[in-house]
């Protein structure tokens, strides 16, 4: 299919709409790059909405970090190949700041530890997870846990996988002052879905009914914890209103994936990025790519069939790992799906996973991925850059285990930031 020569050439094409792709699009727009983006927007729904920067190091000893910044300094020494090790600490800090500033302006502020340490958040399994930043809706929960305040945890008949009793009992030895109550969710019955509940709480009437149901159970509790359902768009209003009606602090607890906290990020990006000039191809993928003279690209975009072509001077590959379809494995090996980039990987399939799911070292396959140079350009094993105009960021990168290191969001945001910066220098 020929492309007419008068078709506009964009500065950068961002492939992927997970955390990394969204962050890259944001930074690219802020850098005034003419940006196009494509990807299936469901991907970010699987983000937990917690901003993990760095939570565990070294993984093999399962050491939970209280100070992620000190941990990062250590990581850069211990794992020089880690994507974080290609960055200055200040670059990581700057990237995080820009990202959360954007969210705050979008009326969805995140909260952090006053000393820039990790916060502790409780999970539906009744465990405690270290993370760096939480949506403002979770702030008072982290605070209540730190102070061991007496709290009432609310759950709902029909919402499966979320039991206040489970959380309270599993945490009893670390947080004894938890009470629980199970309520019917106003005006919904049968099986409940968090997205539907969150959308319904956007309405003042529903909040009033919910507060009326909760009030008799508060007694001496100084805060009330709900599953993450406190609105999709107007979370500040929902939270303030519920606190006013209940007369105590209110906070959210993460739910199983996919989460409303991930959905909110999606909605914010989908709403704001186009306004910032990013051309997003919703629900479409880059299916193939041609290399043009001068290192530029022609990208074939569509679902099963190609719908359109985009010309771009540079590409940022933020297509994720196996779930995001950036990587694909068959019985014989792991491949990068779009450019067929070399993938650093264990030499045999028997070396991909440990026999124990929870093996302390983490599964070697999780450290497989695309290797890059210091400008985040994919390179072969000798370190030779394969395309001057191609950059990669996020979880597709090799030498990291974002799940075990609890660094998913930080890695996405910081490497996207660095890739955009390098891309900007190139395009200029």
């Amino acid at each position: 299919m020929a492309t007419p020569s008068n078709v506009k050439k964009h500065d950068v094409m961002i492939i992927g709409t997970g955390m990394t792709g969204m962050a890259a699009a944001l930074f690219a727009a802020q850098q005034r790059l003419d940006t196009v983006q494509a990807g299936i927007t469901g991907e970010i729904n699987f983000a937990s909405g917690l901003l993990d920067l760095f939570g565990v190091h070294p993984v093999s000893r399962g050491c939970v970090l209280t100070d992620p910044w000190r941990g990062l300094a250590k990581l850069i020494q211990d794992e020089p190949l880690h994507p974080y090790a290609k960055l200055e600490i200040n670059t990581i800090r700057m990237a995080m700041r820009r990202f959360v500033d954007f969210l705050a302006k979008a009326d969805y502020p995140y909260s952090f530890h006053p000393d820039e340490k990790n916060l502790n958040v409780i999970t539906p399994a009744g465990t405690i997870k270290p993370t760096y930043g939480v949506p403002h809706t979770m702030q008072k929960g982290a605070q209540a846990l730190a102070l061991k305040q007496s709290c009432l945890l609310v759950d709902f008949k029909g919402l499966k996988g979320y039991s206040a009793r489970q959380i309270a009992l599993a945490l009893a030895h670390r947080w004894p002052n938890l009470k629980t109550v199970r309520l019917e969710f106003p005006d919904l019955s049968g099986e409940l879905y968090t997205e539907r509940m969150a959308r319904s709480l956007e309405e003042p009437q529903a909040r009033k009914k919910l507060a009326q149901a909760v009030l008799p159970h508060i007694e001496n509790a100084s805060a009330v914890g709900f599953p993450s359902i406190l609105g999709v768009y107007r979370t500040k209003d929902v939270l303030q209103d519920l606190e006013r009606l209940l007369g105590v602090n209110v906070f959210e607890i993460p739910t199983m994936l996919p989460t409303v906290t991930g959905l909110r990020l999606r909605e914010i990006f989908e709403q704001h990025l186009p306004a910032m000039g990013v051309q997003i191809n919703f629900q479409q993928r880059v299916l193939a790519c041609d290399h043009l003279p001068g290192g530029h690209f022609r990208l074939h975009i569509g679902n099963e069939k190609v719908n359109c072509h985009v010309l771009a001077k540079a590409v940022i590959l933020a297509s994720g790992r196996f779930l995001g379809k950036g990587l694909r494995a068959d019985r014989n090996g792991i491949h990068e799906t779009l450019f067929n980039l070399p993938v650093h990987q264990p030499s045999q399939r028997s070396g991909w996973h440990h026999k124990d799911l929870f093996h302390q070292a983490g599964h070697p396959i999780n450290r497989s991925g695309v290797q890059v140079d210091k400008y985040f350009r994919p390179a072969n094993c000798q370190g030779r850059v394969l395309h001057e105009h191609l950059f990669a960021a996020g979880s597709i990168l090799a030498h990291q285990d974002w799940i075990r290191q609890k660094c998913g969001s930080g890695l996405a945001i910081a490497t996207a930031y660095a890739a955009v910066k390098a891309c900007k220098n190139l395009v200029d």
Partner: protein, 593 residues
């Protein structure tokens, strides 16, 4: 302690009075005699129960024996260190052999298989799907074996029907183009879980007892008799002892370890067999490769899936065995030679079992394990060189011959007890109990759809298992023992067996069990870990393509979000790295230049 026993033994059919009478919680005392296998300074101290026959092992043989003896009016206790069918009884392909597989290597076993096959189809029809089977040869297979096949079969009483190659492909459209011979045989499939659970439920209704998670820790042998068997309850950590007139060692691959507790040496060979579950059912019939028994020569349909088998690998010990990547590859390659679609189909799970093969005097060491007899061995230890008069061991054999094994064992037990009651399992139908029905694929979805109750929420969406089904399972487990856990419910239902491999249903089940007050404090965290570890055993060698993406999501939620790996103590020593850490770059790159 009294409560603890009542819990174990509670069964609605037995009155409180008879329970109290039966378990005779008589006294606490300090034993002065030698207890083998218990390495504690303070000799055993605790409560004990009495029974006529103690059966060690809750597999098909042990549970089948419990029913056989109960039908003859005997009182039995079955002790099982894990749960029903935890060993080879659960780790097989659920094949009711026609016998034709063994015609060359073991004609006697072939004969037993075909006789039991006919009998079980009449007596346990609800556990059996009469699929029929085909033996097919493909171009390049041993032509002499193909030519000899009909004669060898008829010598074992099996009458295979020659099928035209064209007709075979019409019967099973998935068969490869290069089939050169086909024979139809009377294979069928059998649900081993339903079989064992039904056998046990039947024995329990007549007063027998099943103690799960109870490990035999020692035996007190005096004057050539086992006085007491010391058992440790894995859930409470407490020990108690059981006095029985006869002790039957039906522990499958573990008979050597159990016999050693009575001072008896049994030499065993352990042959691991791995199997794969394909997402779809690729054939209506059992498909066998028409060649001398080898790795990867059978495809067994089971409900909506197909099971591919099997490997044979000598292992040193029956514990800590895993299906390995190289076995998976071999099975897929061999099965795809018969049915090409299997090269690209999605696989849900791999699993393995250990065949208990007798090593005594067979000179089999070093030879292919397939040449070791698949017949069973019944040992009367009253006649062993090291005489223990009230001790019997039964091992070896096949799933297909379990009933015969139980019957022969029961005959010996009855002779020992001078009881003349005849066995009834040869003529009496196996009752279809409610407890066992949720292992059947497709049943839970049917019931759920028929019930159409919006409040009966599905906890497992892949296999459509709802709250009410879980509640029913919880109740049936409570009849057996104190606390229903995630793994117990997994064993008795399809939960966690669908494509998501437990990612979502595990936490939903944990939350539900907390809500119903079956879990307390932080039990649920360890239960989640154990449930997911168990599923992982079967997923781990099959992770490529979509299942690999699924596994990534599983880890993102259970490790990334819940942090379940933090503070997880590896219980079985597997945390030492078992894999080669070498990395390389994918070879396929370059077209991007």
């Amino acid at each position: 302690m009294i409560l603890f026993f009542l819990n174990i033994c509670y069964s609605p059919k037995i009155s409180a009075y008879s329970v109290a009478k039966k378990i005779s919680i008589i006294r606490k005392y300090v034993s002065q005699v030698k207890i083998m296998g218990v390495h504690t300074k303070s000799l055993f101290q605790g409560d004990f129960m009495q029974t006529q026959v103690l059966i060690i092992g809750g597999g098909v043989t042990g549970t089948g024996l419990a029913r056989d003896l109960a039908l003859r009016g005997l009182d039995c206790v079955v002790v099982e260190k894990q749960d029903v069918n935890a060993g080879a009884s659960g780790g097989n392909h659920g094949l009711l052999h026609s016998g034709a597989r063994y015609i060359a290597s073991d004609p006697a076993a072939a004969l037993e298989c075909q006789a039991e096959n006919r009998l079980l189809k009449k007596l346990a029809p609800h556990c059996i799907e009469q699929t029929g089977g085909l033996f097919v040869a493909i171009a390049g297979d041993d032509e002499k074996y193909i030519a000899d096949f009909p004669d060898l079969c008829s010598k074992a009483g099996i009458e295979p029907q020659a099928v035209d190659v064209q007709d075979a492909r019409e019967m099973e459209p998935g068969l490869a183009d290069n089939i050169i011979a086909a024979y139809a045989v009377q294979d069928a499939t059998i649900d081993p879980f339903k079989l064992s659970l039904d056998n046990m439920a039947c024995a329990q209704q007549m007063g027998s007892r099943l103690l799960r998670y109870c490990r035999v820790a020692g035996m007190e042998v005096q004057n050539g008799r086992i006085n007491r068997v010391i058992v440790q309850d894995g859930l409470t950590g407490k020990s108690f002892s059981i006095q029985a007139k006869v002790v039957v060692n039906a522990s499958g691959a573990w008979v050597g370890q159990i016999a050693a507790l009575a001072g008896i040496k049994i030499e065993m060979l352990y042959s691991k067999g791995s199997l794969l579950v394909a997402q779809n059912r690729v054939s209506q019939r059992v498909i066998n490769r028409l060649r001398p028994a080898q790795d990867g020569d059978i495809i067994v349909p089971g409900g909506t899936v197909s099971i591919l088998g099997t490997t044979s690998e000598r292992v040193a010990c029956p514990d800590k065995i895993y299906p390995e990547v190289h076995e998976v590859d071999l099975i897929i390659d061999e099965a795809a030679a018969m049915m090409p679609v299997l090269a690209s189909t999605r696989y849900i799970r791999a699993y393995c079992g250990v065949r208990p093969l007798m090593g005594i005097g067979s000179g089999a060491a070093g030879k292919d394990d397939r040449s070791v007899s698949r017949g069973f061995t019944l040992i009367d230890h009253a006649k062993s060189p090291h005489r223990v008069e009230n001790f019997v061991t039964i091992t070896g054999g096949k799933l297909t011959t379990f009933r015969l094994m139980a019957e022969k064992t029961a005959n010996l037990v009855c002779r020992r007890l001078a009881i003349t009651a005849a066995g009834q399992t040869r003529t009496k139908l196996l009752p279809n109990t409610v407890d066992a029905r949720w292992t059947e694929p497709g049943l839970a979805p049917n019931m759920w759809i028929r019930k159409n109750d919006p409040n009966d929420i599905l906890l497992c969406e892949c296999e459509m298992v709802s709250q009410s089904v879980v509640e029913e399972l919880v109740n049936s487990i409570k009849k057996l023992n104190a606390r229903p856990g995630l793994k117990d419910i997994g064993l008795r239902s399809r939960i966690g067996k669908g494509p998501c491999q437990g990612t979502f249903c595990s936490q939903r089940l944990a939350a539900y069990l907390y809500d119903r007050k079956h879990l307390d404090n932080h039990q649920g965290i360890e239960e989640l870990r154990e449930f997911l570890r168990e599923r992982w055993r079967g997923q781990q060698p099959l992770l490529w393509d979509t299942p690999l993406a699924q596994a990534e999501l599983l880890e993102a939620m259970h490790c990334g979000l819940f942090g379940l790996e933090l503070g997880a103590n590896c219980t079985n020593g597997c945390n030492t790295s078992n894999i080669d850490q070498k990395f390389t770059l994918s070879r396929r790159h370059g077209n991007s230049k």
